[in-house]
Symmetry: C2
């Protein structure tokens, strides 16, 4: 699809919950004229500790919901869903699908200066081996890394700490130290923040790792990749000449649950209050999961 | 139903995930001849940070699944599900339903010696106000407490800490101190552990609160209440005379997801390895949610 009407359609973004709002924010900053429809599966968050089969089933429903809303591209903001479901979604969806792992890998390969590269993420993301594979294979003409240059760390507690808003609590510092110590000791020169929640901990992570370690925020890398992909496919809403005064793209929010302290947590990720949220019922989720193969 | 065939049916226990295994363990110890079917909604855990409507929808599916397996009673092991869904389940299910809050309240009212009573739980459980209501109204002939004797604390990080197995980590101690400090300062003489995960932190909680504070473990209180309820309804499998050599009741496990590190986490809650686990698909969950009202 490359018609003018297709260009006007929104970008779809889904995540396991509210963490993907950091990705939406980066997309909106880079592509301010694009409409974006966000779906957060807040009823079933988190994905990062759950099995591959479950994550694929959920991701299929999430993406189906966006496709039913007429999106021109699906962005998988969740690292765990990208790790387990990207291939499947590319096979079943009628629109281009972009995950967060490939752009993060490419950015890290550009950033490293010959030292080890670290990745932190959920047990699911790390356990899937996708980042390790990507870094080993190389990408975008960049050479892959030898196995001893690839280091990973599972950080299951960072998501709940961020959601609880304990960004500055001493306990958070202590937990970060425990997770990051082996990566700092190994002297990683580049560290991929392999979860949408981690950018909110960028400051304490940077402080602990030291200024020589480059932090790769998947949200920024993904927004760049989305811009490139839309351009290649002729799907960008407008070229967006600098200085243009354009009405900003509309943002639309759908969630499967309105969690406790939603307003507070949502604003933390988005950087501003979220308005006009629509909730999606269990029945709609079920229906959405059937769409991609049958529609 | 009070026939001999009904007495032979299993007890059903459901929880948002694996935490309810502490309840199953207490039930199995007190009622060793009873078969027990456990369902853990590991695909959608946790419930404690999610909204009331979502928790009711999930609980309805969970309980429906147990009823479809022919249980004679449904035990809601999850505090958050007990807080939001107990009333609804009692209206729609064809078997007796027991929640974890009422037995915990009764035990605390028996234990207190005139001082304040504290409750710690998830944001959902505390936000629902059910424990506060129960303690204020009184129960089982025990007088209710005046408002200034009821103190609560939301502890959203304790569930992920327990699931990560960080029972002895210094960060866990620091987080417990932050949560418990106001309750200790107020001099609570009784503290309800209002979440199935918290009994695994009983030792550090007891150490921090001091020996004068009685800790109420909902699992024990609930097992006692289950025994009483089965007795009243003529549904006990046998009277279980002391010294009887009986074949132990069978335990059956159903989960909606096999999470990362399931074997390790499950064994931590149950106190022994879990064998013969059956996974339940999303479709079966949907089907189960329709059962109670139509069946």
């Amino acid at each position: 699809m490359t018609g003018a009407a297709d260009r006007e359609r929104p970008i779809g973004v889904f995540d396991s919950g509210l963490g993907g709002l950091t990705v939406l924010r980066a997309l909106h900053r880079r592509l301010p004229c694009e409409d974006i429809v966000y779906f957060g599966d807040t009823a079933r968050v988190p994905y990062g500790t759950k099995g591959a089969r479950t994550v694929v089933d959920f991701a299929r429903q999430d993406a189906g919901l966006l496709v039913a809303r007429g999106v021109k591209m699906v962005v998988v903001a969740c690292n765990t869903a990208s790790a387990f479901a990207l291939q499947h979604l590319r096979e079943v969806l009628p629109v281009p699908v972009l995950g967060v792992i490939e752009p993060g890998v490419a950015t890290a390969l550009r950033a490293t200066r010959g030292g080890p590269v670290g990745v932190i993420g959920t047990p699911g993301t790390i356990g899937s081996g996708r980042y390790q594979e990507g870094l080993a294979l190389g990408r975008d003409g960049l050479a892959g890394l030898s196995p001893e240059r690839i280091l990973v760390g599972e950080c299951p507690l960072l998501v709940p700490l961020v959601e609880a808003g304990w960004l500055d609590h001493p306990a958070t510092g202590m937990i970060l130290d425990t997770y990051l110590e082996p990566l700092r000791a190994a002297g990683v020169d580049t560290l991929i923040l392999g979860c949408t929640h981690y950018p909110l901990l960028k400051d304490p992570i940077a402080a602990y790792m030291g200024e020589k370690t480059v932090l790769v925020d998947s949200a920024e890398a993904l927004a760049e990749a989305a811009e490139a992909l839309l351009g290649e496919r002729g799907l960008r809403r407008r070229d967006g000449a600098p200085g243009d005064r354009e009405p900003a793209g509309r943002l639309e929010f759908h969630l499967s649950d309105i969690p406790w302290k939603f307003a507070e947590i949502g604003a933390r990720f988005l950087g501003k209050p979220i308005t006009d949220v629509r909730t999606v019922s269990l029945e709609e989720m079920e229906e959405a999961g059937r769409l991609p193969t049958e529609g």
